[in-house]
Amino acid sequence: MTWVLANLQLIGSRTVSHLLLAVPAIVLSFVLALPLGWIANRFRWSRATLLSAAGLLYAIPSLPLFVVLPTILGFGVRDRLNVIVALTLYGIALMVRSAADALASVGAPVVLSSTALGYSAASRFFQVELPLAGPVLLAGLRVVAVSTISLVTVSSLLGVDNLGLLFVDGFQRGILAEVLTGIVATVLLALIVDGLLVLLGRLLMPWTAVRR
């Protein structure tokens, strides 16, 4: 505890760096996975292809990816963009399946009736199918958020600033309190972001909370 109190400023700045890596990656993977999930769900050929590809993507070990990616993209190994791209790839890998399942979970009768009412294909997607896919999308997004926040720490092995650097540094210098702080802070951060997502879901999808 003494170590924590003495290093509050360091913990704070590392938490901010951590979020600056994780949040863009979480948002990007959601935004990019959604159209991929739509395609996977829309055409017969695409589902198996896209979902298998996403599965393979997730199977790539993370440390080598952090090392290899810069040579492909032309960033430095410690460039934050490098980390964000890698994390986004993992996020997409998880999220594509959720997005496809979410869109498939929208009931056929609702789609049929909204067509009959006179929704155009685009307005039906954004005003009916997307909101109704919401609960399953949110479930997928929560997994992506927690997994991304934890995965960020791997990049600290390359020297990228985030909460993971606390346990890498603590381990090298034999400061147990610093190691524990890094772990606990990462877990707490994941829990807080997860809680915020649940709250956001309640706000955006009030119909899911009503008493049946």
Binding site: V110, L112, S113, A116, G118, V128, W207
Partner: protein
């Protein structure tokens, strides 16, 4: 008026849902398409708002060929009510009813005012407007479905087994409400059902369909029951099983109406009107 002119629908796999169907549904009347499942009645209904396009033939609304009208605006001026209501679970009841006016760009306040009027018309309490569809009973949801179908004040109302999923008592209520609403509004209604009793209760014109949407008989309820065209129609009406055969029995307290098995089906009250068509 809705007119089907030699309309057929076949699918790539070779199944023929509708073959050479011709019918006129007069303005301001309720035409009921009645037949067993798979006879093509829903396909016919969906041809009117272009949910299904016929392989050949023409569907007319008054003097307009629907194939020449873009589907989205066409659908917005035709009311559609389906089984299980098909309500949007993420929208409040009032917004569900106002769906089509809102799609048409009517300001929200005005669309809600219109929706409130319709809730009253279909017998829903105003406080139901602030609930989600899942918080309503099946019968109430179906009322919302009817209100939504009427919201843009369409001339035509398409109803696809709208009362098929509610229990018999509620169904009878909803049928009575529909008759009352229709007396007030005089819409051109095309109503699909597999329930002959419902067809007899609601239809000005009844169209009994066999497989492939072949018309077995068209007529008023009286005509169909009094003179079934063939044994298929008689069977469909249940005449062969005696389910429409009623007898009278005098008792000290009045005249009872008995069914084919001698069970009381009701009691006779007053003199029946003489009907010119019967």
């Amino acid at each position: 008026m809705i007119r089907f002119e030699d309309v057929s629908k076949s699918y790539p796999d070779g199944t023929e849902a509708v073959r050479g169907f011709t019918l006129e549904a007069p303005t301001g009347c309720t035409t009921v398409l009645v037949g067993s499942s798979g006879c093509g009645k829903t396909t016919l209904l969906r041809m009117v708002n272009r949910m299904v396009d016929p392989t050949s033939g023409i569907v007319w609304i008054d003097d307009e060929n629907v194939a020449e009208v873009p589907p989205v605006p066409l659908r917005r001026r035709i009311g559609y009510v389906m089984q299980n209501a098909g309500l949007l679970p993420h929208r409040l009841v009032i917004d569900n009813i106002a769906t089509v006016p809102l799609l048409n760009g009517v300001p929200k306040a005005e669309a809600h005012r219109r929706a409130s009027e319709l809730m009253e018309l279909v017998g829903l309490e105003p406080r139901m407007g602030k609930r989600y569809p899942d918080q309503l009973s099946g019968g109430q949801q179906q009322r919302v479905g009817v209100a939504r179908g009427l919201a843009a004040d369409p001339n035509i109302l398409l109803m696809d087994e709208p009362f098929g999923a509610v229990d018999p008592l509620v169904r009878a209520d909803l049928q009575a409400e529909l008759l009352r609403i229709q007396r007030e509004l005089h819409k051109t209604i095309l109503f699909v059902t597999h329930d002959i009793a419902e067809a007899l209760a609601l239809g000005d014109q009844i169209v009994i369909l066999a497989k492939g949407a072949r018309i077995a008989q068209t007529g008023t309820p009286q005509e169909v029951v009094a003179e079934p065209a063939d044994s298929f129609v008689a069977d469909f009406l249940g005449l062969g099983r005696g389910s429409l055969d009623l007898h009278l029995r005098e008792t000290p307290t009045g005249t009872l109406v008995l069914d084919a098995h001698g069970r009381p089906a009701g009691r006779l009250v007053g003199e029946s009107r003489t009907d010119a068509t019967a």
